[in-house]
Symmetry: C2
Subunit: 241 residues, 2 copies
């Protein structure tokens, strides 16, 4: 079926792909998950990565094929799916704003990643550990509270008083915030504990997402992988003092 959602991401990690998977699962839609079904080589080949690039090649996974449309970059995919699967805001105005919010969640994710890889993605954590210690210190003291406070304020000032990030209903932005907070619980449990009093609305939003019927079923399924030390969110105790 040519208009089936076909999703490509590395198997074995949650990573950026999980933000997309949460939208697909939250909508309860059928989709193909090529990395898990066919393995890493199929993900590489589908993108034309590594010298064999063809027209409309994404820069990197995750990416989505839907008919002859190729969508890449995590928040772009989530927005595309959200609009089609009733997980985007109702109004045009809110939709433009929502993409800004989702891209800010992604900025946060990128900074979380860079705490363990501040110098080079091509090197091991162990080869950039002193720099990671410095970067993580700044992350815990400055960046993490700045981002979390921003999302908390969005919930607080949402004109619809829905207790979601944007608009009146659950959107892909809320699913993404859920995933980031879950990731922080795994990677930076101590730092998060120190901030939890300032982000009560966020904590409640995360629980509402967790108890969403389809998300709850997904989280209990085999399809949901545990966090691990190969993904974006890694627990190195020395980075979370």
């Amino acid at each position: 079926m040519s208009d089936e959602f076909t999703f490509f991401y590395w198997p074995g990690i949650l990573g950026r792909g999980e933000f997309v998977r949460l939208v697909l699962e939250g909508a309860g839609v059928q989709y193909r998950d090529i990395g898990r079904e066919e393995g890493m080589a199929a993900v590489v080949e589908g993108a034309g990565i590594g010298g064999t690039r063809t027209a409309n090649a994404p820069f990197a996974p995750p990416y989505l094929r839907h008919g002859d449309t190729v969508v890449f970059q995590t928040a772009n995919i989530c927005a595309y799916l959200g609009l089609r699967l009733d997980l985007a805001p109702e109004t045009e105005k809110d939709r433009h704003f929502a993409l800004g919010v989702a891209l800010t969640v992604e900025d946060f994710v990128r900074e979380i990643h860079d705490t363990h890889h501040p110098i080079a993605v091509s090197k091991y954590y162990e080869d950039q550990k002193p720099e990671a210690m410095l970067r993580a210190e700044d992350f815990r003291s400055n960046r993490m509270p700045t981002f979390l406070q921003y999302f908390e304020t969005l919930i607080e000032t949402n004109p619809s008083q829905s207790e979601w990030l944007v608009g009146e209903e659950l959107t892909y932005c809320d699913l993404s915030l859920f995933q980031v907070v879950e990731g922080l619980r795994y990677a930076f449990p101590n730092a998060l504990l120190g901030l939890v009093g300032d982000i009560e609305r966020t904590t409640e939003l995360v629980e509402r997402v967790r108890n969403h019927e389809r998300i709850a079923a997904y989280l209990e399924s085999d399809r949901r992988l545990p966090f691990n030390q190969d993904g974006i969110f890694r627990h190195y105790p020395e980075l979370d003092i």
Copy 2:
């Protein structure tokens, strides 16, 4: 006039704001540039940054107000304007792809920034210089060629053979690629020189943008600032050996 484009960014630097400004200037549209007209405080106040956040507050500049719509995150703003100002691809399919490309340009910009600030945006370059040397080395050897080769291949494999990144005409993606290559010429002239034989299509695209009638007029105007050492693109010779 309530549907005028009102643009907010820090005065004094090109930064991320310049990607938005190039779309406005390339379209030849009237716009307000609040940072330059009213100064930094008006940009802060407009965003509600720093404890006074109100509904629909962007995380950070640049942001755009258009009627009662607030758009933030650079590529999101460029896509919004591109669609309204005839600087986005014609087809839906290409539009989704174009946003992925623009977001990848932004990823590249972020990594360029992090060469001089690998540890903390809140600290001076001079206080993270050893780490910057390491990060810049990886950037020059791995990341810079990877990104540039990707954009080169997009031009090469564009099904319309237009010699633009996406679709048949100039889009906001091309304007963004222009700005990045100009920035690299300022910040990493040696590294760029070493790659120039592999990115001939990109170099030609950059020249076509430079000679675009409205862009050429803009580049010669007072409105175009020179690159300087406070922005994203900074020339530290020790990072460009």
